[in-house]
Symmetry: C2
Subunit: 133 residues, 2 copies
DNA sequence: GTTGACTCCGTATCACGGTACGGAAGCTAT
DNA sequence: ATAGCTTCCGTACCGTGATACGGAGTCAAC
């Protein structure tokens, strides 16, 4: 606990500038609390910030945009389960579509790699790839 | 055959501006052939352009960047099979990693959706999602 | 108690893949 | 042969997610 911004960044595998970017986007807490009439000092970060940063990176891997991630954090704050559930389910559906597209593309590439493996003659129809998918 | 640019665009499910963007990137042929000392007229497009446009869209679905797609088209032009094979195989590996990430994310979301389905009490740990993946 | 790293903050810039705008010129249907 | 879509072309702008820069302030170690 009591991490500096660079330690927090390292803990999330991102750069300092990225942490600051997330702060500006409201994904990590207010860097300018300005409560107590000033508090100009250097900020320190704890478990909550580490958890949030991890969550942001994980949610990005799931394909959420930063705007959506901000909404998810707000849903967590107000404990809005139905909305959270809806967002999760919609993302699952999008992921399923995406995974299917990638698997079809993978199959096309496998076919291409196999075709181009033969000698200098024979087919290697790059341009004809992906015609199905 | 002998399509206008808007017909070509429609055939690929993209906008006219996107076709023009691809032309500038060299993905679809030179819009300014300037051969025959001028030829200022309006261009027409045929099967080759339709195939290229389809290929570009398919390769994008496979996760290739436009720069990579330009290289693939060049490899096709010079019939460089080993390089084509290498690009295909590297992309397959990247796709496998990506698909695994998306499947892990999907599993996390499924767990989240299930957890948040209960009544107003009980866990719905949005922020704890993706902790594994 | 000074030096050197780190931090804060605003603002600028980047990469990627488009998307839009505006003027001139070319078709096409009436 | 004129109105009114398209096209052509250069250039500008957009959204997303960062990443960089520069100057002032702060902290920690020697």
């Amino acid at each position: 606990m009591a991490l500096t911004i660079s330690e927090l960044a390292r803990s999330g595998g991102v750069g300092v500038e990225t942490v600051r970017f997330y702060q500006r986007r409201g994904l990590i807490d207010d860097p300018r609390p300005s409560r107590f009439g000033g508090a100009k000092g250097r900020r320190h970060y704890g478990d909550d910030e580490v958890r949030r940063l991890r969550f942001v990176r994980g949610a990005q891997r799931a394909g959420f945009t930063l705007d959506e991630i901000a909404r998810l954090l707000e849903l967590d704050r107000v404990n809005d389960r139905p909305a959270a559930r809806t967002m999760a389910r919609e993302r699952i559906e999008a992921l399923d579509r995406k995974i299917a597209v990638l698997q079809a593309a993978r199959a096309s590439l496998t076919r291409l790699a196999k075709a181009c493996a033969g000698g200098p003659d024979g087919p290697c129809p790059i341009l004809e790839s992906f015609t199905d998918s």
